[in-house]
């Protein structure tokens, strides 16, 4: 079946199978490998993307259900070759170790910042409760978010087309 997706601002017309997940289409048909398959059951959050600005686990969305939706992955945060503030803060604060969880983690936080540009530590922790990280112990991730918010939250919450 044919669907249209808007991924990182670009329109894609795709032929998808009725059993294919959004995760499969993003990775295998569009080639976005930052969207990772971990648990395949919505527990680990490695496949998190923003769908119409809301974090969802793309392993639990069938591709045809995403028809017409706007999808954002971490690649879409880069502007003119420059990382956005949240990405920079992740690097600066040591919030990345192996990096497997990072794209999903960043997108869950983006989803939070769209709704709540100045979150408390508790709200940050709640927003990433669905993203597992086996390296950092989460502390440095929370620090990175606080740093990004302090350095210019408006850049984190800008709307993209």
């Amino acid at each position: 079946m044919e669907i249209v997706l808007y991924v990182n601002g670009k329109k894609y017309k795709l032929d998808v199978g009725s059993e294919e997940r959004l995760l499969d289409v993003l990775r295998d048909k569009i080639g976005i490998k930052s969207v990772r398959e971990g648990c395949s059951e919505g527990e680990c959050g490695a496949c998190t993307v923003l769908m119409d600005k809301k974090p969802v686990t793309s392993c639990l969305v069938l591709a045809f259900q995403a028809e017409g939706k706007e999808i954002l992955t971490v690649e879409g945060l880069i502007e003119n070759g420059e990382l956005d503030q949240l990405q920079k803060s992740f690097i600066e604060k040591g919030a990345i170790q192996c990096g497997y969880c990072t794209p999903g983690m960043i997108l869950s936080i983006k989803g939070l910042l769209y709704q709540n540009p100045n979150p408390t530590e508790e709200e940050i922790r709640e927003a990433i409760a669905g993203n597992l990280c086996r390296c950092t112990g989460y502390k440095k991730i929370v620090d990175a978010v606080i740093d990004a918010v302090q350095k210019g939250e408006e850049r984190c919450v800008r709307t993209r087309q």
């Binding site: 199978g17 919505g42 527990e43 639990l60 409760a129």
Partner: protein, 289 residues
């Protein structure tokens, strides 16, 4: 996996057209449970109908003394709804404890009901609130009380091609409710035990109480023996008496299960949490007991 046809419906009219075709329909809304079952081969649809964008079945409103919740309303929407927080607080609390943000952005209340998991978090809340499920089918609408909706382990009273359209909850300004659960961790966890309590008070006395316990069997279990709780002052002893009654309910319901000794004690803690929360909520509204 066997291949199947799939279609998305946007309006009730689209759905009615499909129903007339005499095909066996399988519905998918948020898909957070369904896609896992699909990939495990536990469901094999002929025609998969996506209702996640069926706007006629979405939204939260108050109508004629009832809260009306569309079946494809997500738990994020329920958790953040000012109507639900005001009139059906235990449901907002239960919604907030389901899965993660990502899950709650997709998972729907209709899906949670139809999935009929014994550990579902929305079901005891809906039970304590005396919710009614409105079912839509080719022959029209029918209403079923939430406690009659689940008829066996993971089985509902839905007939072929029927679908949940709305959930109705009576809204009463002097009712207060709360939900609590225990799981293996704080977030993203399946309930080992959950409890919702909804009570009506006048002055500082409890007039009516509905308590529903989940994870004890095919459906939540409602506390029927309310002697000693009605017309009782809501003091510290109230939570203890409630805990004692619920503990006996657990022992009676699952006498031979290995988890009975644990659950019959844990339920007392949940009763204390829930009553403390209700009393705090009451005093937050200027009602001191």
């Amino acid at each position: 996996m066997r291949s199947y046809e799939a279609v998305s419906v946007k309006t009730e009219g689209d759905l009615l057209e499909l129903l007339k075709n005499n095909k066996k329909l399988t519905y998918i809304a948020g898909g957070t449970d369904f896609i896992i079952k699909l990939r495990e081969g536990k469901v094999s649809p002929e025609l998969l109908v996506d209702i996640s964008c069926l706007e006629d079945f979405r939204g939260i409103s108050v109508q004629d003394g009832f809260i009306k919740i569309g079946a494809v309303t997500t738990f994020s929407e329920i958790q953040n709804s000012s109507i639900i927080k005001k009139y059906a607080r235990c449901l907002a609390q239960a919604a907030a404890k389901i899965g993660s943000v990502q899950i709650r952005n997709r998972a729907t209340i209709g899906g949670n009901i139809v999935n009929a998991s014994p550990a579902a978090d929305s079901l005891p809340a809906l039970g304590a609130l005396s919710a009614v499920v409105e079912v839509f089918g080719v022959e029209g609408l029918r209403k079923v009380n939430i406690e009659d909706f689940i008829i066996d382990m993971r089985k509902t009273c839905l007939r072929e091609n029927e679908i949940v359209k709305n959930i109705y909850i009576p809204c009463s300004p002097d009712s207060f409710s709360s939900f609590s659960k225990v799981g293996a961790r704080k977030s993203v966890t399946i309930s080992k035990l959950n409890l919702a309590v909804n009570l009506k008070y006048h002055k500082d006395v409890c007039l009516e109480i509905n308590a529903a316990v989940g994870t004890l069997g095919k459906n939540f279990v409602l506390l029927k023996d309310c002697d000693g709780l009605i017309n009782r002052k809501m003091d510290e002893d109230f939570a203890k008496v409630l805990g004692e009654k619920l503990s006996r309910l657990v022992q009676y319901t699952i006498p031979n299960r290995a988890s009975m000794p644990y659950k019959s004690v844990a339920i007392r803690g949940l009763a204390e949490d829930v009553m403390e929360d209700i009393i705090n909520e009451l005093s937050g509204r200027g009602i001191n007991l």
